[in-house]
Structure formats: structure tokens, C-alpha cells
Amino acid sequence: MNRFNLRAVGLSLLAPAIAIVLSIIVTTLVIAAVGSSPGEFWSTMFEMPKPRLRVDILNQTVMIYIAAIAAAIGFRMGLFNIGLEGQYTLASFAAATFAGAAYLSGFANVAASVLVALVVGGAWAGIAGILRTTRGVSEVIATIMLNSIAITLVGYFLNNYGVKEGNSVHTKNLDPGSTVGGFSPFEDRDGEIWALGLIAVLVGVGFWVLLNKTRFGFDLRASGQSESAALASGINPKRMILISMVLSGAVAGLIWMPALFGGARNYGTSFQAGLGFLGIAVALLGRNRPLGMLFGALLFAFLSVKSNDLTFGTDVSPSIVQITQGVAVLAVVVTYEVVRRWRTRLEQRAVSRELAGPTEVTA
């Protein structure tokens, strides 16, 4: 039994390992194909990052990780919330506007704004949930549409009610009292690790507890695996769909909060788009497991941040990293599928051996 578990662990590590090797090969081939030097690329990428970049990597990991958890909540339920992008854009804008208006002061302002982000993200995802449960509209199409609507809406509000400064528009700046500091592990000029990054820890632990230690988590996983079986055992799948959609959107609302209160201070040009899609990719990479996603988020953050070094050191353009990330995702889902089939075959063989064994003895 123990040995079997060991093998199961080995098999589940096999897939990401193959995926990483494959994405390294593909990236190398692409770089070589346009006549640049892959060796130079990899040596630049795997150099120890400078302290400033190490701080950046940690901060990015935090945001990507929250995004991955948001995606994973949907995945576990068999829902594809491709709308993280729209949910966190709208939620970040709403929270930044609320925080900038300074109805409250100090920590109360921060807490209330984070609550605003939760509610707005959840509500926006809830539209897709309601359409799915009452009208049978696929959440994939609905959330794609809601993404575009959210981004256009934010653009509209920003242009009409934002603070104009030169060519850029942004929401009102936060009160200095409402920013949340961080830790500077290195010298001051290397930047801070955002204190609100702790949200990621809370979300990660919360996700694990919710899923594995609560009745709700059991219901969620059960309905994700078979809606009809869940229905038969007294779970209302429609309610579960709506709740997990809202929950996923609410967590998505948190994605950019550490950055807002850590360094950005307003919603504007410093807003980082695309984290939603990265989160989906990392959730796939990490197989929706809290630790797996942490590893994935760290890897993606490392690649993204470190790619900035390429512009100085090499003639390889930093966008190559997007290819590496995309290939890693595709490779990991393919290898998971292959490994899963292989494992099923192994188990089938083991079972048939066990069944065949005694009959031979009696015969």
C-alpha cells in the first residue's frame, strides 16, 4: 500500500516535470529558429536574480497565486471561470475608487475597500452564475462577454470621472494613512514585499480548509465530479454553481489589492492586466492543489520578472517567456491526461492480476 502511494506521488510529479522539460525544449527551438542564442537566454534566465527582482518575484507570486486560487474554486466545481480578468479589473477599479474617496481613514479604509473588491468581484461573477443557473447559458461564453464589458466600463468611468494627469488618467490617490507598508528584506531601494501579500496565505489556507475539511467543500467536489450523483445525495447543484461562481469572483476581486495598497496607490497606468489569464494557467499547472499552484505561481512570476533582464543582456525579446508559459500549460494538461490513462491501465492490470491469482491456485 505504502509503495503504491509512493508511486502515485512519483507519477503526479512526472507530469509537471515532463511539461517543464518540454517547454524548455520548445523555447530553445524557437529561439534558435530566429537565429538567436538559446545558451545566452538560459544563462541569463537562471542567473540569481538581483535583490530588487527577488522582491518583485515575491510580489508577483502573491497576485498570481490569488488568481490561481480563484480559478481553482471554479475548476473544482467543474466550472470554467474565464472571467477572472474582468472580475478583478472591475473590482480593483471599484476598490481604488472607494479607497481614494476616503470615507474612512487608516486601516478601516483598507478593510472596507478590500470588502468592496470582494463584493464587486463576486457580484460580477454572479451575473454569469445566474445566467447559467436560470437560463442555461454556458459560463464560458458569459464570462468572456463580461470580461469585455467590464474592461470597457472601467475605461468609460475612468475617462469621465478619473483624475487626469498629463496623458494618463487614474482614480484619486490614496491617503498616505491608507497605504499599507511592507517588509524590506534588503536595502530600501530594492523595494518592499507588500504586507497585504498575506492575503495570499489566507486565501491559500482557506481554500485548503474549505475544500478538505468542510461539508461545503465535500459538496463542492461532489457536484464537480457528478452533478446527477450530487443531486441524488441531496445537494442542490444549481445553488452550488451560483455559490462557487460568486466565491471565485470574490477571490478574483482580491488579486490586485496587495499592489493597490502596497505600491500603486491608485487605479491607472500602473494597473497590471492579464493576471486573470495567468491565474487560469497556473491553476492548470498546479492541478488545483494549493501547494502545486504555489509552485506554479512562483515559476510563472520568476519567468515574467526575470525576463526583464533579457532586454539588457541578450538579443532575445522578453516576450519569449509568454511562449514558455503557454507551452508549459499545454504540455502539463497533455501529460496529465497521458499519465492518468497510463495509471488507469496500471491499476486495471494490477486488479486483474489479483483477481486472476487466486483462481489459478484453486484450479
Binding site: 464560458v140 461564453i141 458569459a142 464589458i149 475617462n159 469621465n160 503557454g326 507551452v327 494538461v333
Partner: protein, 412 residues
């Protein structure tokens, strides 16, 4: 056998007839609003021309979606394949001229399709997951290759390549002039149709005509040939198809490859016709809109053409003056109220009330304001899609085994 074909033909005729009626009523309505609000721009040949240009990429992507989904594969990767197409069109046009460029766009899209086919058909990966990955890869590859290659080209930079030769334009002299004369009279209905003919016969890109022709070709191939029947059977019931000797894998592969190539052509249109050259990010989610147009059109060629035209028309409006967009609200309001009346006549009370409420709201918006913010017109295709899906999702019928996993030998 013979009664079956007669019956089938009857259905086809009825369906195309109802599309014809809807089209005629639509033109009449727009024409009516044009006259009472005095916004001739609403159906000016220039407007229609812009609408056709905005329609073509969406149409090509929607067709791509149709091919894949009819064979049972959901292709969310259309966006990525389109992006690959923009790069392919730019690269091959730069070296070999526009027609090779279009082939290049199709080729790059096809490579994206191949990737999707391998992942979903051979390895049984979830279709949407694979599509998302392909969108990431497509965007990455196009950006990287553009930065690595186009920077050294004449008219190029890390993010664009300008000065590409466009495919030829066609004008049919007699028809074009006659249509222009009639359109300039601003008569009810007749002039609107004439303006459409004018736009279709004056300086129209051959690539636009090609894409429209591809809709007809797709419809004929998918619904009128045994090849198409087999292909569609893979989307409806692959197990049954397999027991009848259809090589399901092969048909699915062919369908997804064609799907990618069509999306690539759509991308090529963006780079060669719709704008003056390649730039990164120029697809702007049109692959997704194409997918929405196809769903809007109930997985049928006529329907997706209507969907693509609707989205293309609203998409082109953001370039026009806000006055005509405002008049369009009246069109929508009257349309919704008429739809509500029809539903009430059919005794679908709840639906009728919902539609009527929205119709009244839009009417109020028209009466109480003078202009529509530009951002709102950008949103129109997305809101329309949600609305149509919310109202009509129960009446839409996608291929029965669409998006389902299929393994060779799983029948019986």
C-alpha cells in the same frame, strides 16, 4: 426516401424564407428610423462599407468555429489562431505579395489548429483548457516573432509592420454607379438596398468576397455532401458514426485544421485589409466575438452570417458619429417591442414582459438623451450576445456531442 428529401427541402426553404423575411423587415425598420430621425449616415454606403470590413474577420472566425464544433470540437483557441494569422499574413505578404500572404495567414492559423487537434483529439485534453493555452501561445509566438523579425524590415518595428500590399479591390462599373444614384435619393427602403449594393460593388476587397464565398462553400460542403454529413455525424454522435465506418479521428482533425485556417484568414484580413499593416494585439478579442456570432447563429451558416453582420455593424459604429448610434437605439427599441408583441401573440407572457421592459427602457434612453457614449457602442456586441443567450439559450441547439471527449473504439 423521396418524401424525406421533399420534407427536408421544405424545411430548408422555410428556414431561408424566414431569414429573408427577417432581413426585409430589418431593412424596412432601419430605413424607417433613418427617415424619421434624419440620419442618412445610418445606411450610407460608407457606413455599410465599414460594416463589411468589420464583419469579415468576425465572419471568418465564426466559420472556423462552425467547422470545429460541427465535428464536435469546441475551439476557444480561435483568438490565438487569428493572432497567428495576422503575423503569417504580414510575413508572407512582405516577401511574396498579398495572395501568398493570405495563404500564409491560413497556414499559421492551421498550425494553431493542428496544436488544438493534437491536444483535444489525440490526447483527450479538455477543449476549453487547450483553447486557452493556444490563445496564450498564439499571442506569445506572434509577439516574439514580430519583435525578433519585423524590427529589421522596412516599415517594421518591434510591434508592427506597415506598408503591406493589400489584395486587389473590385468595382463593377455600371452597377456601382446606378446603385449610387439610387442611394443618393434617400428613398424609403429602395435607397437602403441600393446603398448596400453600392458598397458591395464599389472598391470592395477581393478578400471580403472570398470570405463571403467561404460561407456559401461551407454551407454546401457541410450540408450537401456526404463528406459534410460524415463530419457532422462526428459532432452529433461519434460512437454511432464509428460503427458505420466513419474514421472519426480523421474527420475531427480535418475539421479543426480547416477551423484554424479560417481563423487565420480572419487574422490576415485584419492585417491586410482592415488596417494598414500588422500590429500586435490587433485582433482585440474578435476570435471570441466570432465564437459568439456562431452561437448567436445557432451553429448554422445563415445564422452566423446574421450574427457576424450584426456584430460587424455595431463594431463599425464606434468609428462613426454618435448621432447615428443614438438613432440606432430607436431601431433596437422598436425591434424589441415588436418582438415582445410577437411573443405576447404566441402567449409566452413572461418572455413578452421581459422583452417589453427592456424595449421600454431602451426607448426611454433614446428619448431622454442626445448621444451615446462611444464606450457603450464598443460594448454592444457583448451585451447583445448575453441578451440573446439569456433569451434564447433554450431554443439554441448545438451539436449533441460538442465538446465531449471521444476515444477511438469507445462505441459499444
Amino acid at each position: 426516401m423521396s418524401t424525406a428529401t421533399v420534407q427536408k427541402r421544405g424545411i430548408v426553404e422555410r428556414v431561408s424564407k424566414s431569414w429573408l423575411y427577417i432581413g426585409l423587415i430589418g431593412i424596412g425598420l432601419v430605413s424607417f428610423v433613418r427617415i424619421i430621425t434624419d440620419t442618412n449616415d445610418l445606411t450610407a454606403a460608407g457606413t455599410i462599407r465599414a460594416a463589411i470590413i468589420a464583419t469579415c474577420p468576425i465572419l471568418a472566425a465564426a466559420l472556423g468555429g462552425l467547422w470545429a464544433e460541427r465535428a464536435g470540437v469546441v475551439n476557444i483557441g480561435l483568438e490565438g489562431q487569428m493572432i497567428l494569422g495576422t503575423w503569417g499574413a504580414a510575413f508572407f505578404t512582405y516577401h511574396y505579395g498579398p495572395w501568398v500572404g493570405i495563404l500564409g495567414a491560413a497556414l499559421l492559423g492551421l498550425i494553431g489548429g493542428l496544436l488544438h487537434a493534437i491536444a483535444t483529439i489525440s490526447f483527450g485534453v479538455d477543449h476549453i483548457v487547450s483553447g486557452v493555452a493556444i490563445n496564450l501561445i498564439g499571442a506569445g509566438v506572434a509577439t516574439y516573432l514580430a519583435e525578433a523579425i519585423f524590427s529589421d524590415y522596412e516599415g517594421g518595428g518591434p510591434r508592427q509592420l506597415n506598408g503591406l500590399e493589400a489584395p486587389a479591390q473590385i468595382t463593377i462599373p455600371g452597377v456601382s454607379d446606378l446603385a449610387k444614384d439610387i442611394a443618393d435619393q434617400h428613398w424609403f427602403f429602395v435607397s437602403d438596398v441600393a446603398a448596400f449594393i453600392q458598397a458591395m460593388t464599389t472598391n470592395i476587397s477581393t478578400l471580403s468576397l472570398l470570405i463571403f464565398a467561404l460561407v456559401v462553400v461551407s454551407a454546401v460542403v457541410l450540408w450537401r455532401t456526404s463528406f459534410g454529413l460524415r463530419l457532422r455525424s462526428c459532432g452529433e454522435n461519434p460512437q454511432a458514426a464509428e460503427t458505420l465506418g466513419v474514421n472519426v479521428y480523421r474527420y475531427k482533425y480535418i475539421a479543426v485544421l480547416i477551423s484554424g485556417a479560417l481563423a487565420g484568414i480572419g487574422g490576415g484580413f485584419l492585417a491586410l485589409v482592415a488596417s494598414s499593416g500588422f500590429s500586435t494585439g490587433q485582433t482585440g478579442g474578435r476570435g471570441y466575438i466570432g465564437l459568439a456570432a456562431m452561437i448567436f447563429g445557432n451553429w448554422r451558416p445563415g445564422g452566423l452570417l446574421a450574427g457576424a453582420l450584426t456584430f460587424g455593424y455595431t463594431d463599425s459604429l464606434r468609428l462613426r458619429d454618435t448621432q447615428s448610434v443614438h438613432s440606432l437605439l430607436l431601431v433596437v427599441a422598436i425591434g424589441l417591442l415588436a418582438f415582445a408583441a410577437w411573443r405576447a401573440y404566441r402567449r409566452q407572457v413572461r418572455g413578452a414582459v421581459t422583452v417589453a421592459v427592456v424595449g421600454v427602457a431602451v426607448m426611454a434612453w433614446f428619448l431622454l438623451t442626445d448621444a451615446v457614449p462611444r464606450e457603450f457602442t464598443v460594448m454592444t456586441p457583448y451585451v447583445t450576445t448575453l441578451f440573446v443567450l439569456a433569451l434564447g439559450a433554450q431554443r439554441l441547439r448545438m451539436p449533441a456531442a460538442d465538446g465531449a471527449q471521444y476515444r477511438r473504439g469507445s462505441a459499444g
